[in-house]
């Protein structure tokens, strides 16, 4: 599903060269729930951004679903993100003028899905994340956890191949964080949803089936199957 080979990412900050990734290689299979962990500055977010086609590596190869995505022009990368990938960010990033349901069906509208289909799909996915009763509420009427659930529903509405989550619990309390992780776990187990999630919280490890540890831009180690599913 994801094949990364020798990914290198070098930033320039003025005259200083920052080597954020120093040749990272790994594979992620379909249906996996993979955690990317490591200390601050280890390159977790940089790696997630490259995997999510939000950034370009300085060198290396990346294939998703067998497609060499690094060769795609920007327009195709945008369509690839819309059709194949889902994103959940730290701070939800909902459109405040839209209701929960409208936020969720927005990507489906862009895909050209008929109205009745995207209305049904958004209702279904909001039901799955436990917001069936809160669909017509706007952002300011939802708690942080509910907003993150809407963001997750938005990421999932187009049934993406891979769901990327960049520290989705960073702004949530531990109870709400647990709920969100349970939801990810449920989606992973029930829908066989591939999830790649960046985290720096050790207690999240129990939800991942594999953890890629980064340190100073390189893979320090990969730990397999930490979940209770074994």
């Amino acid at each position: 599903m994801i094949t990364a080979r020798s990914l290198v990412r070098i930033y320039r900050l003025g005259n200083v060269e920052v080597r954020a990734l120093r040749g990272v290689s790994f594979e992620i299979g379909g249906g996996e729930f993979v955690g990317i962990m490591g200390p601050s500055g280890s390159g977790k977010s940089t790696l997630l951004h490259i995997l999510g086609l939000l950034d370009h590596p300085t060198s290396g190869d990346l294939a998703i679903d067998g497609i060499n995505v690094l060769q795609c022009p920007e327009r195709r990368r945008t369509l690839f993100r819309l059709n194949k990938l889902g994103y959940v960010f730290q701070d939800y990033a909902l459109v405040p003028e839209l209701t929960a349901r409208e936020n969720v069906y927005l990507p489906s509208m862009v895909r050209g899905m008929p109205r009745d289909e995207y209305m049904a799909a958004s209702a279904e996915i909001l039901g799955e994340v436990g917001l069936g009763e809160r669909m017509e509420h706007r952002q300011y009427e939802l708690s942080g956890g509910e907003q993150q659930r809407v963001a997750i529903a938005r990421a999932l509405v187009n049934r993406p191949s891979i769901l990327f989550a960049d520290e989705p619990c960073a702004n949530l309390d531990s109870v709400t964080s647990k709920n969100i992780l349970e939801l990810f776990k449920k989606l992973n187990e029930d829908l066989n949803q591939t999830i790649v999630m960046v985290s720096h919280e050790d207690w999240h490890i129990e939800y991942f089936c594999r953890v890629i540890y980064l340190k100073d831009g390189s893979i320090e180690r990969i730990e397999e199957c930490k979940t209770t599913r074994g």
Partner: protein, 403 residues
Amino acid sequence: MNLQNLKVSAFLAARTIQRGNKGTLLLTIAITALVFVNLVFQPSILSGIVETFDRQSIDFNYGNLVVEPKGDESAIDNVESLTRKINRIPGVTGTSPRYETGATFTWKSKTLNRQVVSFTPSDEVTVTRIHENVIEGEFLSDGDTDQILLGILLAGETDETKDKLESLGGVRVGDTVEVTYNNGVVRTYRVKGIVETLSIGVDSVAYVTNREMASVLGIEDSASTILVRIDEQGAEDKMKRTLQRFGIQEEIKTFREKAQGFIGDAVTSFNIINVISIIVSLIITVVVIFIVVFINTVNKRKQIGILKAIGIDHRIIVNSYVMQVVFIAACGTVLGLVFIALITAYLSYSPLLFPGGPVVPKIEPALILRSIVSLFAVSIVAGYIPAWKTARENILDAIRGGT
């Protein structure tokens, strides 16, 4: 940009308008409306001035055409046969030979130098509408020799502070004024009527009959000008050529040619003011809309970055802002039209008073269309640029740097 993407842009724009900050939206619409009023109002006043001046010139000063002595001659001779000839030309509805000379008016202790214009009243009514603007007393009759018609500005007010020009100080119908003509002839006239046309040139002089003027100046069958009325307004140039073709040897001028010195300078000056005002208004529109959209997009930088990250094409985002601007411009135009209708209604009831006469704004469809097009054009450009700039930003820079 396909139809589906435009639908999404329209959806985002509609929701932002519906549920976004109403205060900012209403303020922006109000500013746009006022700019639209400014775009339309000043040129419409200018058109109104030109129209008023044309109407007043035709109705009270010149008719449509003015026949003047040829070459160096000071008067037109054989006026009777000449007017008969002109009256037979198709399209001519009336002629009025006039004579004009300077005189000194005396009433009580007041003395004033002004022009005396003579005409044959039965001819004059076929050309001008002075007879319809006698506010006191009566218009002259062809046989009147001891009566005079005074313009309101010459007759004046008892209270000098109310006078717009120096006057005789409140002469009324029935009073007697002494007129000393330039040739030394002194006549005493009973004031038969007072005329008020709101045209300074008409209201500041006096009128006697041609019969009286002939006896004063010792002239016969002579005039300094012949005013000509035609049936097709706006066809003055064509009729001028027609008169020439029919063998009228005298010099023929259209009312515009007669008035061009005065109105030409005024129109040029107003046009300069107008252009400056339009440019300033459009710059205000550009700045206001640019700032509103710029602040809006900068505040939503992170949100825009994330919308792009989830696969929404930046053109959808840019177009949603452009559509909001189009909505603002449309509402501003409608509101502006309402303001203009109210202002026009008020000014129709209480016209602006200019030296040439009362002015009502003349709103022409071409002016409205031009104003709408320019308002929409600058609004769209002013909305597009900041939206495009923000939406083109690198996704990660927008997400990291956004608020």
